[in-house]
Symmetry: C2
Subunit: 329 residues, 2 copies
Amino acid sequence: MSLKHDREWDYELERIVEEVEDRDAKRVGLQFPEGLKRRGPAVADDLRERCDDDVTFMLSGQPCYGACDLDTYLMRRTDVFVHFGHSPMKESDKIIYVPLFSNVDPFPILEDSLAELDGDEVGLVTTAQHMNRFEDMCDWLEERGYDVHTRRGDDRLTFEGQVLGCNYASADIDADQVLYVGGGKFHPLGLAMEHPDKKVVIADPVNNVVTIADTEKFMKQRYASVHKAMDAEKWGVIFCTKIGQGRMEIAEKIIEDNDNAYLITMDEVTPDRLRNFDMDAFVNTGCPRITTDDGPRFHKPMLTPQEYRIAVGDEPLDSLEFDTFHGTW
Amino acid sequence: MSLKHDREWDYELERIVEEVEDRDAKRVGLQFPEGLKRRGPAVADDLRERCDDDVTFMLSGQPCYGACDLDTYLMRRTDVFVHFGHSPMKESDKIIYVPLFSNVDPFPILEDSLAELDGDEVGLVTTAQHMNRFEDMCDWLEERGYDVHTRRGDDRLTFEGQVLGCNYASADIDADQVLYVGGGKFHPLGLAMEHPDKKVVIADPVNNVVTIADTEKFMKQRYASVHKAMDAEKWGVIFCTKIGQGRMEIAEKIIEDNDNAYLITMDEVTPDRLRNFDMDAFVNTGCPRITTDDGPRFHKPMLTPQEYRIAVGDEPLDSLEFDTFHGTW
């Protein structure tokens, strides 16, 4: 896949400057997701030029993978905290969310994707980056005779039609196929795992390709991990301390019911950190995508909470579902 | 070096159980340094056996390298927080510090180390693990005719004669040689860098060897990093968010004076995290040992605050000193 389009982002500098002035802010925190951290210093320069000399800009060096993953340390210690690249999971006076809407034109690839659609009932979803074109895309499809199904998922999502890596409630629609418009395979893969009965057509305007989501490799890995974990005695139960990734009730329930389960708290869930613990298997109550996408990188089987219940015999194997995350914090 | 002695640690379980009962604690956090995290589940088991069923034990999965590095998230969310492996940097009602005193007998290796001492004036230092034998070791040396110099460094240290990886104020004594009793080279290396005029004799009762600290390799790396950084234009200035590793005044001073310096905040300072930022060099205002010991693992030169001042021409090269950390938080 070649990167056909130059991506340019709208950093909404004027909106930020206005808020800094309105609040007479002296310390401003800037948080970027991993792929955009490199742009941070230039954005800080642009803001410094536009703000008073006594305003200090601080870049978050913490890993960041979503609006679930705010740098709360920096947020608490700054007057204005700007979170780039994601839309609000929960509003707060302190935080300015800059979703970084994309300038990529989605219509050429939408045109190409029509060949993959069966019939005229279709769901439409996209990510925060392309939300600025969502209504246009609906209109465009309707003009071509499609009955477009959309919905706003739940309160974890900001927009109608929006998906997150951990939440595909916006695709709970009455159509057998869903058109996903956006870059990469990360989101449509989760979408297809969460909705195994639907065909997921990927219209990728960034890499300029149309593909069909294929979950086979990932589903095989899930079943293999569950099987391996069936022999486990000692379980590490991970509670993720990131602001929007905590599911303490689930973690505590497992600990209560299983004397060989140990509650382990951490922010970044990495192979290195888990290697420190002598466990036979892990249950991750934090981000489901670490479990499904990075699972094979861990030295011991890593399961979702439901997969844990399957492994210990509380649920049948064929009930296995993709783990999704609901609510805010 | 072979591990001649089995190390056994005193986890002070009875003291912990007593505190849990006294405070009627329901949630107890347990934090271990990296090398001992593996023991965490067994310690949790021992505590569960001795406590009421309604007490939940939570293991910190965050990396931990000192009493400067408390898991504040877990601490705030538990009724009792037990920090193993380090002595108090600052007391708090909530925290129980269990230094894990070693049961290793230091006297055989002390006997061997005498051959390396020149004259009878000697400083004596050790780590928290061997503090339970510090007075005995002083007496032992004095009985053999030595004039033993000891002092309590500053308020970052708990005990007289104690050293930390970042603080060797206890070796500011009136003797040209210092005897370090303890395992490994980490502490004596810092000691020798901080006190280049003193001979540092290492009596290692864990690995059963006597050696002389040699800082040459590290000092060459420091000078090389400073030289490389002299051409840097864009500087990343790291402020570490760990509770006992923050030096904001130093970081802000650099930012104020240098328009090409950017303040970056993070807890774990790792090569991966810094690679996200397009900088020519970094200044680390956090843990000095990440700079000196791990420096070569980073993709760009990483300097201490004083090395930064040398690189930008504010101080002469021959003033280069080991970076130490003072005070608590």
